[in-house]
Amino acid sequence: MDEKPDAVLKTYLRQLRWGLAPQSAGDRDDIVEETRLHILARIEQGQTLQAVLASLGPAEVYASRFNDEMEITGALGSEKPVAVLFAILRRAHRSLTAVAAVASVLALSVCALAFVVTAGLKPFDPEHIGLWLSSHGSLLVGSISNPTDHRELLGGWIYPVAAIMVTIAWLLGRLVMLWTLRKIARKSHV
C-alpha cells in the first residue's frame, strides 16, 4: 500500500461513514469514532494498520453489518408490517426463506383481495358475481358470464367470508413475515 497510514485510515473511516448513511447522524458518529479508537488501540498493541483493516473487512461490508443489524432489530422491535416486509424484500436476493415468505404473503394478499373485490361488486350484479363451484368441481371467486353450469356457494355470506379472509391473510401474513425476519436475524448475528 503506497498511501500513508493516516490517509489510509481516513479513507477507510470516510467510506465507513458513507456506508452508514441509513443510520442517524448520532449513531454514525459513534460507530465511526468507536472504529477509529479500536483501530488505534490495535496499532498500539503492535498490529499494522493493514492487518487491523483486513480483520474488520472492507468499509462498505463492515458498514452493511451495522445496517443489517439495525434494520432487522428496528423492524422486529416495531413489528410494523411495512418495515418487516421491506426488511425481508431487501434480503430476497440472497435468501430462499425470504423469497418463500414474500411469495406466501403475496398469495394470501391476492386471495383476500379477490374476496374483497367480489364482495364489493356483489350488490351490483348478484347473478354473476360470487364464489362459484363448477360442474367439474373447481372453485372460482369473481364474475362468470354463464352461471347455468355453476353453483353459487355463499350468497350474502360472501361479506363475512371476505372479512374472515382479510383477517386470516393479515394475521397469517404477519406471522410468516415475523418468523422469517427472526430466522434471517438468527443467521446474520455473527
Binding site: 451495522f66 439495525m70 422491535g77
Partner: protein, 125 residues
Amino acid sequence: MKFGRSKVQSQPTGASSVEARKAQLLRGLMEIALLHLLGDGPEYGLEILERMRRDAGLNVAEGTIYPLLHRLEKGGSIKSEWRVDPAGGRPRRYYALTKLGTDERQALVAEWHRISAAMNAFLRE
C-alpha cells in the same frame, strides 16, 4: 477459525459445510457469552472482544462484535456511555446491561445449562 459473515453466507460444500455448521452452532453462544460477560460490569468493545476470545473460547471475528453490541443496545438489552480515561488515555465507549438485559442473561444462561447438560448426557450415550 473465524466466524465471519462471508463464510456463513456462502453456499457450503464439502469441508466448508462443516465450518458453516460450526459457525451456525456458535452464533447464539456469542450473545449469551456477551451478556454473561457484561454481568461482571461495564466493559468497552476491545476488552469484550478479547475476553470472549480468551475467557469464553469463542474466536469472534474482529468485525462482528460492534454490530452485535449496537444491535443489543438498540434492542434495549444493553446501554452505553463514553468515558474518558482519568489517566489521560483515549475515550472509550463502555457497555453495560440494562434491567432487560439482566433478565435475558439469566434466562439464556439457565437455558444454556439445561441444554448443555442434556446434550452432554445424550452425546455420551
